[in-house]
Symmetry: C2
């Protein structure tokens, strides 16, 4: 017994650095000592029972900078124990890393590293990349440009389920877009301007958008079943780190924690956040009207001169507007984060819901209001097509550059600098590790899958809302997504710090968001078809009949959509069977347990009863 625990305490035996902690420069020695003790203390004493080591030893710190970096690691034994503790030991053989990160996350909760972060003692905590595993992952993922599926299971092994699910969805969505792109191409090639052909396209679009979302649910269940997170039990939610309030007693857990009145929060939401969001929406519409003025101005300029040069000028307002939309979206994103954080939600999930709602409403209006205006107020299909094309292509190009390529280039430049500096030192240390820590310390932090899903959501909007006017949209989306996979992969592997692994069972609220978008797209497409000259020609004398028929068809389609969504099972049959088997076995086990209980009671209780009667 003694042997075991002392073995776990030593630093030397099989130390693999996994997480880096950076402390503030002015932290006192006592604090450091306390933190170290919390990390290396045994489980039963409330510690994390992990290994802790400064990046540089005493001698080195005198010659080099960065003396407040510490490495946290674990022995192989601790990793296995962690895996067992979270119940993750199953048939997979790629989960050593995962077991650790997941385990660590729980252990860190013990001394609440988040509180240390907000108090400023700890500057940052991040897991280190594993250069060897990363190289292997990159080789199968994106470095070779061949057409093949992504190694989703390896991505999940390295980054965790949440990120793997995003890449799985991105891939699935791209493949799902291909039929749309293929059907859309001839419209461009043969310049099919007939609206009756657009009717076919729109009808196809309706069924397509419903079916792909339903099929995704099944594919997603397939993946998460394989990973063991499909039936994941939600962790009991602790208050989120930013939450503050007067200390009180939580009526659910009975623990002492900050309490904040729900009434005050409601006040903040309805008196500050809501007016602010409305103001932003108004501002967005105001900008849109300026765009239309510019559009008119450009058109009049073109008509006055009629030269080739002014023909290109026609696209300029749209491009400028697209860039402004991107900028507004990003600015609003920060404001929404600030406001939602200020609303002081107790739970991370409530915070996320309020944030998603704020951001989605604004982004939807900001991106699509001008298109709806052109389609249904101006009724100018040519302008709609031009505007849609410019918005879609500009936003995609901007995203790729701002999100991945630019940061990658900056990161590479910085990497060369650091390498040069480290080589110049020629100190007697583990150069590779030192270099890695210094480099990754400066990398950006991955802020979660929110922005990535949002991008796909808006893309889905461009493709499905007005696809019957611009069938080429799907082709552009496919093209973008093929490069997006690679640039996102590059971003994850080379530009950003390695994120902590998060388990998840599905894409969550985004499924709902995509489904809502597809309902809106049914309505929009029906309206567009109803407005087309071809359909109008069928009812030359009575416009009323036309509208009534379009509305009836739209209602039928919506009903069909809901029935379809209801009729397609969310989980594939073989998984349903396996889950039923699991449930059956656990019920059998429960029954056995209860039988035992009854048998035990039979031995004890009734005898008393009988005795009384006999007496």
């Amino acid at each position: 017994m003694k042997v075991t625990l002392s073995a776990l305490d030593t630093y030397e035996s099989s130390f693999t650095p996994l997480v880096v902690i950076e402390l503030a420069q002015d932290v006192k020695e006592e604090t450091k000592e306390w933190l170290k003790n919390r990390i290396i203390a045994k489980k039963k004493d409330g510690g994390a029972q992990l290994l802790f080591k400064p990046l540089l030893n005493k001698y080195e710190t005198e010659t080099l900078e960065h003396h407040n970096l510490y490495l946290v690691g674990a022995s192989q034994i601790r990793l296995l124990l962690g895996a067992e503790a979270v119940g993750l030991v199953k048939e997979c053989n790629d989960n050593t890393m995962r077991a650790f990160t997941y385990g660590t996350r729980q252990n860190f909760k013990g001394f609440d590293v988040r509180r240390l972060l907000t108090s400023g003692i700890v500057i940052q905590v991040f897991p280190l990349h594993d250069p060897e595993a990363l190289k292997k992952l990159e080789d199968t993922w994106y470095t070779r440009f061949t057409l093949k599926y992504q190694p989703i299971d390896s991505i999940r092994g390295y980054f965790g389920e949440t990120i793997a699910l995003y890449f799985g969805f991105l891939e699935y969505f791209t493949f799902a877009l291909i039929p749309m792109a293929v059907i859309g191409l001839p419209y461009y090639l043969f310049a099919w301007e007939d609206y009756d052909k657009y009717v076919i396209f729109a009808s196809f679009n309706l069924i397509w958008s419903t079916v792909i979302l339903e099929v995704w649910k099944r594919g997603c269940a397939n993946m998460t079943y394989r990973w063991g997170t499909l039936l994941m039990k939600r962790q009991f939610e602790e208050p989120r780190p930013g939450f503050h309030g007067v200390l009180g007693i939580n009526s659910i857990t009975g623990r002492e924690e900050p309490v904040y009145s729900s009434f005050k929060r409601q006040l903040r939401i309805y008196l500050v956040s809501l007016p602010f969001v409305c103001l932003c929406l108004y501002f967005s519409l105001y900008v849109m009207m300026i765009y239309f003025d510019m559009e008119v101005w450009a058109l009049s300029l073109h008509e006055d001169s009629g030269s080739e040069w002014t023909n290109i000028l026609l696209y300029v307002p749209s491009i400028i507007y697209a860039i402004i939309i991107e900028i507004m979206n990003r600015l609003y994103r920060y404001a929404a984060e600030f406001l939602t954080s200020w609303e002081n939600h107790r739970l991370e999930s409530a915070y996320q819901n309020h944030l998603v709602l704020k951001v989605l409403v604004f982004n939807f209006l900001n991106c699509f209001a001008s298109l709806f205006y052109i389609a249904f107020v101006l009724k100018d299909m040519k302008l709609l097509r031009q505007s849609l094309a410019t918005l879609l292509i500009t936003s995609q190009l901007l995203n790729q550059i701002v999100e991945s390529l630019l940061p990658y280039w900056l990161q590479k430049k910085h990497g060369v600098q650091v390498k040069r500096r480290v080589q110049a030192l020629k100190a007697d240390i583990d150069v590779a590790l030192y270099e890695q820590v210094i480099l990754e310390k400066e990398m950006g932090t991955y802020m979660g899958t929110f922005d990535d899903y949002l991008e796909l959501f808006l893309q889905f909007g461009y493709v499905s809302l007005f696809s019957c006017v611009y069938p080429l949209a799907a082709a552009f989306a496919v093209l973008n997504n093929f490069t997006e996979v690679n640039s996102d992969a590059l971003k994850m592997c080379r530009v950003l710090k390695r994120p902590f692994s998060e388990p998840s069972a599905s894409i969550g609220v985004w499924q709902l968001a995509f489904e809502t978008m597809s309902v809106i797209s049914v309505v929009t497409n029906c309206a567009l078809i109803g407005m087309s000259p071809q359909v109008n020609a069928v009812f030359p004398e009575s416009k009323t009949d036309l509208i009534l028929i379009v509305v009836a068809v739209e209602h039928a389609l919506l009903a069909l959509k809901f029935i379809l969504a209801f009729a397609i099972p969310d989980k594939p049959r073989h998984i349903q069977m396996k889950l039923a088997r699991l449930e059956f076995e656990s019920l059998e086990a429960l029954k056995q347990q209860q039988m035992k209980l009854v048998a035990e009671n039979l031995k004890e209780e009734p005898r008393e009863d009988i005795k009384e009667k006999a007496a």
Copy 2:
């Protein structure tokens, strides 16, 4: 130990007869003996460990008839054990009976009483009424005509959750209708024929129908939480009794059971059931057209003569049609049951879903097709109102008579006969018990809450679909429901055999059915308002604008409805809190368990590891 079990075996000590088993006349003595042994055998030998006794002893059977009736009972001890076995011992003190019925149900499964029923050995198995408890229940329930809430908890104690939930829903729905009825009355009293007032009424109706369904979910959660069934674990579903097939291995349970190919079932559904349902729908529409012919004939007759007598004649076609609708509904119900049973579904839930779908589609069309036809094809609001009133009132009157009053009268007559006959015998037996068994043996069996909910569903349709044309509908519905509570209670207590108690957590598929109806009612009401002359007068020159505005308002209302349904939490806050507390505690317990596991592993496994390293 010996004392206990032998005490459980004796018949005499505290025998309360609870269930009656009627065997076929030609059952052999060996079969009877076997059955008896299965019932009284101890639990560990696979028996039910209950008491079993013929209704009459040897001597009496010679002088009296009905010698194949047997009583199954339980001692007080067994009841308590049963309650404990199903984990029902909680703060309630009314659950002795419930514990028994529930327990029995499980014990009977052991020797599959259903198989004995289908094989014809056992004619019927039914629980006996408990005259004393029944009297008490009736006194607080319906015998005294005072305006008060029903004793839902007592109903649940006597009949189980499923039936109590029906009465709870009936009561809730009646109270929810009162505001509608109150607002509707002045329309009748002051003969408000202005359509703008109908617009107000319809708008109110929209919000009302959404809100009451959402609020019901919360009330229902409240009740079932109190009863402990809210978090009820679904029992693992065994094949339903009627299911047959070639013996095979169930891949989920690994047990041998009948297997029936899903392909064959699909064939039966799509090649037989579906065409049959379509044929019935066609027939129903055909009957409807005959009704309209009759309507025209009656009108022409009235116009020719113009007398007071023919004025009444105007209502005759509607009344005849209403009666025919009722008859068709009932006939179709039997056909649907036969067909669904013939489709040979393996699970009771699949059977129920297919049956509900078949019956709902037909009943909806059968009851409302003529109204839709009058409203949107004939556009005759006067006829619509008259037709609606006749249909609603006739169907309600018919239902009350056929369902409760007529059977009650027959039952009473039969009761007097039995009493006279028993008193004439003057044999030396427990006359009260004998009389009760003979009487209840002949009572009808309660076929579940299906028909009762269906009736409410159709009523909800009459009230919400066309309420803006006939605001008095709600008042009639309220009036009907107040008597319905009493006649249904009478039916449950005096006309039908006591049903086995069934636990349930909600009204299940009916919630969905009511919600679908309320969506249809939004669409219908919007269309009716759009057709009204008043609204049309606002847009004298452009009918197109009017339709577009109505459609836009309808979409906005539907969106609002979905947002409202989404925003109102399904469970009241205090229950959410309690459930969260429960979850927290179970997670804490799990954590404790895992901690122990880790501690144990620390003691054992690592030592091996270290030893190896040391070696």
